[in-house]
């Protein structure tokens, strides 16, 4: 019997093995996503849900300037977070990979993750305590006489959101960069030195290009969740630090307009995907150009 043979085949065993996660993915990822997409084509008429398919929600998003402004601000803040996080994470990952003795590396990675054992919410509140008008930072600076009056540009604005999120996502950037640096064969660096490159040149011609997959992964890992974050902007962002996810949350929970919220979520998703692909392509082109500039392509 064909079925009997199939039952014992390698493929069948494979399918059996992947079916629980597959089922999990369908019910918890694909189904809700499909629901969101469906909702985005419906409309809310006060208390009733109009299930006639329409592009009305998307038209609203395109025409109302509020949505565009918030979306751009979200992309801007998330990109800033991404840049700051990766820029701060790289030196840490580099130090642990290249300058910490092999037997201490896991200890270092462990120490790096310790702050993240506390709740995300508590960490955001702690930043409020540090950055506030009467906060730790301002009192210390006032105490030392470095400033005459409390700094106000550090809380309740986009800067505070960037700072807080950059801290929150640091380990997610450090780990992939660390892994890509660990994978670099150290003899490649010696070979570059042997062929006449200085330390700095070796870094730019060998270390950085070979760490690029990890850096790109870190960028994507940081960018995607930060765009959708709404706790941090709500708590430390002030009126000008609100992001697209805050609006989506408001539409769903306060304004009772799930269809518009769903459409906005879809637009945000498409934007972040486009933005990710764009900078990955830019990074690839940059690498290609540097190779070309070295000649002998």
């Amino acid at each position: 019997m064909a079925f009997g043979r199939y039952k014992n085949s390698e493929a069948a065993r494979g399918l059996t093995l992947v079916s629980p996660p597959f089922f999990y993915a369908i019910t918890l990822l694909a189904a809700p996503l499909a629901a969101v997409i469906m909702f985005s084509f419906w409309t809310q008429d006060f208390l009733t849900l109009d299930r006639t398919p329409t592009l009305e929600n998307y038209r609203t998003i395109m025409t109302e300037p509020l949505y565009g402004t918030l979306l751009l601000r979200s992309l801007y803040i998330a990109s800033a977070v991404m840049a700051v996080t990766v820029a701060l994470a790289f030196p840490i990952a580099y130090f642990v990979s290249f300058h910490v003795p092999a037997h201490r590396k896991s200890l270092w990675l462990f120490l790096i993750t310790i702050p993240f054992w506390t709740s995300y919410l508590i960490r955001v509140f702690l930043w409020k305590v540090i950055l506030g008008y009467n906060g730790v930072l301002n009192s210390s600076l006032l105490g030392t006489g470095l400033i005459g009056e409390p700094l106000t540009f550090i809380l309740y604005n986009p800067n505070a959101v960037v700072l807080t999120l950059a801290h929150a996502f640091a380990p997610f950037a450090i780990l992939p960069i660390f892994v890509s640096l660990e994978k670099i064969d150290r003899s490649l660096l010696e070979a570059a030195r042997d062929l006449g490159e200085s330390r700095a040149q070796t870094f730019f011609s060998i270390t950085l290009p070979l760490a690029m997959p990890g850096i790109l992964a870190a960028m994507v890992i940081v960018l995607i969740p930060t765009i959708g974050d709404y706790v941090t902007p709500r708590l430390v962002g002030g009126p000008n630090g609100l992001m697209i996810a805050n609006l989506i949350q408001t539409l769903f929970l306060k304004l009772n307009n799930a269809p518009l919220g769903a459409a906005l979520a879809i637009v945000a998703m498409i934007s972040v995907a486009t933005w990710c692909i764009t900078f990955i392509v830019i990074a690839k082109i940059l690498m290609w150009l540097t190779n070309k500039a070295r000649g002998l392509t």
Binding site: D185, S187, L188, E190, A191, A192, R193, D194, L195, G196, E197, S198, S205, I206, P209, L210, M287, N291, R294, G295, L296, T297
Partner: protein, 361 residues
Amino acid sequence: MTALISLTGINKYYGDYHALRDVDLEIAEGEFFSLLGPSGCGKTTLLRTIAGFEDVTDGVVLIDGADMAGVAANLRPTNMVFQSYAIFPHLTVAQNVGFGLRKSGMSRSDKAQAVQDALEMVGLGGFGARAAHALSGGQRQRVALARALILKPKVLLLDEPLSALDKKLREQMQTELRRLQRQVGITFILVTHDQEEALIMSDRVAVMFEGRIAQLADPQTLYRRPLTRQVGDFIGVMNFLPAQFKPVGDLITADIAGLGQAELASEQCPAGPVTGGGAVGIRPEILSILFQGETTSQRETVGQVIERAYYGDMTYYDVRLDDVDAPVTISMKNLIDRPVLERDDRARVSWDPRALVGFSD
């Protein structure tokens, strides 16, 4: 002999570990030189000291008369072929080979020509556009060679370059490396743990044990007249038989277990005259088994075959000579009219006293 590389009183410590001990060495221009020893003997450390990847704790490294103290690897007139080949995975073959030309000030077309020439020299013409990761082990090695040789270094350093290749390819590359070295005339310094490779390729070999140079000689001297038992044992196979030595005029008489009395000329004791207890070393091809009816003008003794290994071209016998505990190894060419002895067969063994080497330990 003008010394291109001169090492004087080199000592290297890693913490308490004494990796290089009082190494003195001069290497001539155009020489194919090998550093040979078991793993952990310091041969790679010594090579990396010349390349500039390791600082010496004490001692002077001169290359072409210039003191290399404090000179970084990128500023030394040396290039290296790494054990792992260290081919840059994100660059093409041509980019790898042309990597070091960046500071040469050559025009773009000159560089491209130089890369082309270097690739052809190692037999990889037409491979320039390939991605580095698409190369086989042997090809990677050739790329590493071309990449180092294109810079026309005064010295090419090779860190076990053939150890990752299979046997056939390794033998082919040994001949090719030798040919390449004669062609470019650059000094090659090869690090290897393979004594056969060192003998085949080198003009001179330094045998190293525990951070020290045990013997520095050409391959033939190394094989025929090892300075110590350790060297004799490491290079090829050597049988050792306990012996009592007594100097008689210019000669030394040896009373050798299993072989009897023999007279050794002074050059047969390379480390100096031996008196009292010691051992003589004798190579397996110097001992030969006399088959039925064969006679010899050489000396003769008897023993019993306790093991044999048939290799096709050769048969290796372990023979216990009468009155000696440890067996000796004897290699015999498998000529057409020669039988192969079995275990427990009695064997008559002839030997040539001129090939004995006397050791005091």
